[in-house]
Amino acid sequence: MSSFATITNKRLTGFFFSLLLSANSWAQTQPELVDAWITAAPPGSRNLAGYFIFENKTTNNFKIIKVKSPAFEKVEMHQVSFPNGMMRMTEIEELALPAGQTVAFETGTRHLMLIGPKHALPIGSKVKVDFSLNNGEIINAQLDVRR
């Protein structure tokens, strides 16, 4: 009987502790994604591009250290450059989001490379993408598929 009470107690403590944590993360706002979308691609495309603007309105510096989506095998952040007119893509391992600044992912600069779609993504559908921050938090984003 007493052991049951202890477990309940532990559970309760855990519950309140997590409540406290989530309350804390509510207060400490995260960077946000604005105008987030994925380009509708021809059928059979293995690579799709995602575009958005990161707005870090907080007073903290953040880094994106990992991106994943249940709709894709793999997600990477890519930097595009045009040395002598050549299109070159390089992976961004960690993306810095300095306090008070915005970072744009737009064609010809940066994009989210979404590799290996697990199902068809028709125009108008929404795709869940999770961005892991260096503080352990996750930004849960919804990207609209459009042309």
């Binding site: 380009t39 690579n47 299109m87 064609t107 010809g108």
Partner: protein
């Protein structure tokens, strides 16, 4: 002896004058673009398209003769490209829908024939425009075509995996109705910039 030497010199002079006249008569002074227009390169004199044979997305052959009697815009890329190639195709699609644009052939040519067979190319171009032409073919033929136009490309990563990247020259090429490369427009591309440059070039050299 002296006489034949003189006539040889005369023949050379005539040939030389003929060539000079040909270029002066045929080739107007190079089009001067506004100073703030970067990344638009005019070929003067224009570079003739080399002899090549490609396969169109509908299975028909395509050679340099298919450029004749029309203006064409052509982009070299690969269908697995996530950003720059679909963006160039979106620019083509927006231009094709513009009623003010004079008749233009829009072409996408692959530099990744291993993955881009005719059916893949067809899916790709049909998605962007119903009249667009997609080209694929033998790597040797692609090189015959791409090299004189300066289309450099390279495969990065494991070419036996489905996910290798192709680094490639990403300009939009303007081909004139005599099947000659007239200009190229470097990235980044958007509809307004590409169309303004193209129409200016076309109006001047037409």
């Amino acid at each position: 002896m002296k006489k034949s030497k003189n006539s040889l010199l005369a023949i050379i002079a005539v040939i030389f004058l003929g060539i000079t006249w040909f270029f002066i008569a045929e080739e107007p002074p190079i089009l001067k673009l506004p100073n703030d227009w970067e990344g638009i390169i005019i070929e003067s004199p224009p570079t003739p398209a080399p002899t090549f044979t490609f396969t169109q997305h509908n299975g028909k052959a395509f050679s340099e003769k298919d450029f004749l009697n029309k203006w064409s815009l052509i982009f070299f890329g690969y269908t697995n490209c996530p950003d720059v190639c679909p963006n160039a195709m979106r620019v083509f699609a927006q231009m094709a829908q513009d009623p003010k644009l004079p008749a233009t052939e829009f072409i996408f040519a692959t530099v990744d024939p291993k993955r881009d067979n005719t059916s893949r190319i067809a899916e790709f171009v049909n998605f962007f425009g119903k009249d667009f032409i997609g080209l694929t073919g033998d790597k040797k033929e692609i090189d015959k075509f791409a090299r004189p136009f300066g289309v450099i490309y390279d495969y990065e990563g494991d070419v036996n995996s489905p996910d290798y990247i192709v680094t490639h020259f990403a300009a939009i090429y303007v081909i004139d109705p005599k099947a000659r490369l007239r200009a190229y427009i470097l990235p980044p591309h958007n509809k307004i910039r590409v169309q303004e440059a193209y129409e200016l070039i076309r109006n001047y050299y037409e």
